[in-house]
């Protein structure tokens, strides 16, 4: 983004005399109008900025925990290391309505949607700041910038040169070691970092995880007007998943993730800059499992425990076939073998290739224009999910423009939009219009309106998840089936905001009143009309027996349809108060009233809806973070998070009010040639709260316990 690489100072001896030319020489324009970002007072939507101070004070070990600070956010850990984060609720494990960018690269997974946070090769310590746009911003970031945008910006290599080591150990078998080296060679600045993490996760679940990753960021300054940035990274992780269920048995997922990114920035003149950005993300999750063979599954059924084990399969077959088949006949007539059932919930590979051109122009003193065009290919491959070995691809092209017009010192208009055309879909336009009024240098009011869309994921459009017998494509039971070409869901958002910025006392206050209307929602529902595969059977008894067998596995199938609407009205408060450089108070609060209708069942061709959507978002969220640093280098900080009762979508459950209290006690120190910090972090001091899964009947409850960690870091200069 900005050309900054290595520092070269003139003379190590410090004896360079300065001449009068030094005071009058022309210098290259470094911060041209095109490279400058908007100030908070000029932005069209509410934002929360999580900076290094907040990251450190929070004691968070991962990015989702940081997002708990943001008003309106709910974070759910569906296993000890894997999380979903959503703004204004209405999400499941794969929050599909939020765009997430790391250094300008969308990490939204095209196949499943959502973000595999645990697989992202980035350490919270190397994040410079997280800018969370609280509201739709498709005009700037495209589809899926639906409810909000999380923009993660990492440190520039030149900003923190040197070597750093960090380790965390603690309860729950937390073991982490992280190393980083940043430096420069000539005009090339770089950062290498590597990490290893392991964690046992929740107390009562087999969800331990270990992750390792490597990341490289290089920036070559060609001249004052040109820079090229390179980024690559990969991660590999093993994650315990599942629970005691025949179709969700405990297992270990093997995840692989890698990305490559190259960005060229060229400043044609101080008022004309363009950049070309290309990246590729790859995600692989290996997740397939085989149940015991059918006869052994039958022998384990509760209802048959009263019979001698050897005859249980025959009893089972006789029952299903109306007395016509014993177990062997059952297998023969239904063209089955006594084999395991095979299934995968998550196993897939996905790629995203994205190329974008962007030009920033300062067309006049008060008018700035950003426009660009991009093309993208998303690719998903999974015989488990898509019932085919071939990959499914989807291309997209887009054109966007945004203007910032300072009508006068007191009035700013932000207007823009993006046109997107997805393969096999109608093109759509996402506009935004906002006006900001600076009452004086401290007080700004804004009003904005925008429309955004969320494209269905490849999974929602193409899923054909089947329970196979023994091997893939030996179909037994259809679990989820896409039944039509889905349309994008849309959101219309209206916002009235106030930003008070009082730098004299270190206070920034943002208030937001909002109204959001979501239409054409993409719902996962159960369709009882979807038949299971007939396996080529024609005999009516065999077909009826197969049908009875399938009903024991699952009757009908899940599917996705466009149905339902939701309205969310509310207000949010975002307060950042730093009265002294040593003190920090951050407070976030949101109230949201969510209501609407969503479909949940299709039976006999009739869609059945209810208003349960109001339970899928918390009415209140509250977070507060406080920190004080003493002269001695000791820093004490504490955070409290509150999310009202809500029901997570998908497999998630009703979670009672979530309350979490964290404390961090750190001591910074300096030694010759190095500096470091030791910190004791206590999380969930109030203990015992439940997260995402809350199903005692399934023996599945995610319960956080109080845990303490010790963190040490050492930086070498």
């Amino acid at each position: 983004m900005l050309p900054a690489i290595c520092f070269q100072i003139g003379n190590a001896a410090g004896s360079d005399p300065i001449s009068e030319d030094y005071f009058f020489e022309e210098l290259p324009v470094v911060l041209s109008a095109t490279r400058l970002s908007q100030s908070l007072a000029d932005t069209p939507t509410a934002m929360t900025i999580i900076d290094k101070e907040m990251i450190r004070a929070s004691g968070a070990r991962n990015i989702p925990d940081l997002l708990r600070l943001v008003p309106g956010f709910a974070v759910g850990f569906y296993s000890g290391s894997r999380a979903t984060a959503t703004y204004h609720g209405l999400a499941d494990q794969y929050a599909r309505d939020m765009q997430v960018l790391i250094d300008g690269r969308s990490v939204y997974d095209p196949a499943f949607g959502g973000v595999a946070w645990a697989d992202m090769p980035i350490e919270v310590d190397e994040i410079d700041r997280i800018e969370v746009i609280r509201g739709p911003n498709a005009a700037a970031y495209g589809s899926n910038s639906f409810s909000g945008v999380v923009n993660i910006i990492s440190d520039h290599p030149a900003d923190r040169p040197g070597t750093m080591l960090k380790t965390i150990i603690g309860e729950g078998n937390v073991r982490k070691i992280y190393g980083r080296h940043a430096g420069s060679v000539g005009n090339f600045a770089y950062r290498l970092s590597a990490n290893y993490d392991e964690y046992d996760g929740f107390e009562d679940r087999e969800d331990s995880a270990d992750t390792r990753w490597f990341n490289f960021h290089g920036e070559q300054t060609l001249d004052n007007d040109d820079t090229v940035e390179f980024r690559v990274g990969f991660s590999q992780g093993n994650y315990g998943e599942g629970w005691s269920d025949i179709f969700q048995q405990t297992r270990v997922l093997n995840n692989r993730y890698n990305f490559q990114q190259i960005t060229w920035k060229h400043q044609q003149s101080p008022s004309n800059e363009f950049q070309i950005n290309f990246y590729h993300n790859y995600q692989q999750i290996e997740d397939s499992y085989r149940s015991p063979i059918i006869s052994d599954v039958i022998k384990g059924l509760d209802d048959l425990q009263g019979f001698p084990e050897p005859i249980r399969p025959d009893i089972f077959a006789l029952g299903l076939s109306g007395g016509n088949y014993n177990f062997q006949m059952f297998l023969d007539e239904l063209k089955l073998t006594d084999s395991p059932l095979t299934l995968s919930w998550l196993g897939f590979e996905s790629d995203r290739y994205d190329l974008e051109f962007q030009q920033t122009l300062q067309t006049s003193e008060n008018l700035r224009l950003v426009w660009g065009a991009g093309a993208r290919q998303d690719r998903g491959e999974s015989v488990w999910i898509f019932h085919q070995y071939d990959a499914i691809t989807r291309n997209q092209i887009r054109l966007f423009a945004n203007t910032e017009w300072h009508i006068s010192p007191a009035w700013v208009i932000n207007a823009g939009g993006m046109v997107e055309r997805f393969e096999d879909k109608d093109p759509f336009f996402s506009p935004r219009l906002a006006i900001n009024h600076h009452m004086d240098q401290n007080n700004t009011f804004r009003a904005s309106a925008s429309r955004a869309y969320r494209m269905p994921t490849l999974l929602e459009d193409h899923i054909n998840l089947v329970v196979f017998l023994d091997e893939p494509l030996n179909d037994l039971n259809t679990w989820i089936l896409a039944t039509g070409n889905l349309d994008p869901q849309s959101i219309d958002s209206f916002e009235l905001g106030y930003l008070g910025s009082f730098p004299e006392i270190g206070l920034i206050l943002d208030l937001k009143l909002f109204h959001e209307k979501i239409n054409n929602m993409i719902n996962e529902i159960h369709n009882l009309d979807i038949p299971d595969p007939d396996r080529g059977l024609t005999d009516p008894i065999a077909l009826a027996t197969l049908n009875n067998f399938n009903q024991l596995i699952q009757e009908g199938a899940g599917t996705y349809i466009n149905s339902g609407e939701a309205t969310i009205n509310g207000l949010e408060v975002n307060l950042d108060f730093r009265p002294t450089p040593r003190d920090l108070i951050f407070l976030g609060y949101s109230y949201a009233n969510t209501y609407g209708q969503e479909a949940f069942l299709i039976l006999d061709g009739t869609i059945q809806s209810d208003n349960g959507i109001s339970d899928n978002a918390a009415s209140h969220t509250f977070s507060i973070l406080g920190s004080h640093r003493f002269d001695s280098g000791i820093q004490i900080s504490s955070a409290y998070y509150h999310v009202g009762e809500m029901t997570w979508g998908g497999e998630g459950d009703l979670i009672p009010t979530f309350r979490r209290w964290d404390v961090r006690l750190g001591k910074q120190f300096t030694l010759p040639g190095m500096d470091g910090e030791i910190a004791l972090i206590g999380q969930n001091l109030n203990g015992g709260h439940v997260d995402f899964f809350n199903a005692p009947n399934r023996d599945l409850v995610n319960r956080w316990e109080t845990r303490f960690f010790l963190q040490a870091s050492l930086g070498f200069r």
Partner: protein, 339 residues
């Protein structure tokens, strides 16, 4: 009206053309003589006074200063007919000077270090003003000290407190000022502490030894600073480092206060500096004291009396810092300075 490089006129306009390498201005105070009744009869016409301006080079900035000196001398003389009668101003670079130039000059003004050194080498020490002199940042051995002690010398640099005042005004309310200094340079500790008390700010210095340290030192300094004040030191701030310093600070949302108009254009939020016009006004003020008395008034080196403030509105807007007008900032700084 040029005749053999000599301009004979009374200039009254504000916008003066840049003069050539060698030119002379003869000021005939005919206004006073012809339009003030009885003027010519009331006083004895004194002989012509010769002012020689020696420029260090041919850069445009010297010519701008020369033009502005002429302008302000004319204004001064118009208001002080009892002191100025007929003034001849000549400007030249050292190599173009005519023999015995010093004997024919009632006042010599040098612009820049080279011109000052030239006069020293020719033994001229009376009735001389050295202007546009960069004060070297090395606190232990100022290479210019020997030349300028005991002579009227006007630095190009601004006094530290003036820069600090602007830095404080450019933070949007912050009070922590960070300064990068070379390990051998930078202001003395006592001056810093006094400034902290006077201005109610906290000043943090980061000493930089070699190029490898600049990035890390800057990074740490920015974490403790609301504004970075750039002081003139070619070891720290130069064409090679400016891009990195401005981009690093911008990423941290910390404004930079520079020391030249060019620094502001490059991306600093503001700078306090002396324009050619400011420099000329100060030179003319000092010249007036020489013209009005036949004895030398030896005062020694001093900082510019007049200064300007430049602001980069785009950078300020992007950082969310509201700044008053340049004039207002200058007045605020002036108001805080002891006359």
């Amino acid at each position: 009206m040029f005749t053999d490089g000599k301009l004979t006129a009374l200039r009254t306009g504000n916008a003066l053309p840049v003069l050539g390498r060698f030119c002379r201005v003869l000021l005939l105070l005919f206004l006073a003589q012809h339009f003030i009744p009885g003027y010519a009869d009331s006083r004895e016409i004194e002989r012509q006074q010769n002012i020689l301006i020696i420029k260090s080079g041919t850069a445009t900035v010297y010519d701008k200063v020369v033009s502005a000196i002429e302008h302000y001398i004319i204004l001064y003389c118009r208001n002080h007919p009892d002191i100025c009668t007929e003034i001849d101003i000549t400007s030249s670079i050292p190599t173009d000077l005519k023999p015995e130039w010093s004997r024919h000059s009632d006042l010599v003004i040098t612009l820049g270090t080279k011109a000052a050194t030239f006069t020293r080498d020719h033994g001229v020490s009376k009735k001389i003003i050295h202007a546009m002199i960069p004060k070297q940042p090395n606190r232990n051995s100022n290479i210019n000290d020997g030349i300028f002690q005991g002579t009227d010398t006007i630095y190009l640099n601004q006094p530290l407190e003036r820069s600090l005042r602007l830095a404080k005004l450019s933070t949007g309310g912050g009070k922590r000022i960070g300064i990068l200094v070379h390990k051998n340079n930078g202001p003395a500790e006592s001056i810093l502490r006094r400034s902290e008390n006077n201005l109610g700010v906290t000043i943090t210095l980061a000493e930089v030894g070699d190029s490898k340290e600049l990035g890390s030192k800057l990074g740490k300094l920015l974490g403790r600073s609301d504004v970075l004040l750039a002081l003139p030191d070619a070891n720290i701030h130069n064409r090679k480092t400016i891009s990195n310093i401005l981009t690093s600070t911008y990423r941290k949302k910390v404004p930079v206060v520079g020391f030249s108009a060019a620094y502001v254009k490059a991306g600093a939020i503001s700078a306090v500096h002396s324009t050619p016009d400011d420099i000329a006004r100060h030179i003319v003020d000092v010249s007036a004291s020489h013209l009005s008395t036949k004895t030398d008034l030896i005062k020694g080196p001093k900082y510019p009396k007049y200064f300007s403030v430049s602001v980069n509105r785009k950078v300020a807007r992007s950082l969310g810092i509201k700044l008053p007008s340049e004039t207002h900032l200058r007045d605020q700084i002036s108001a805080g300075e002891t006359p």
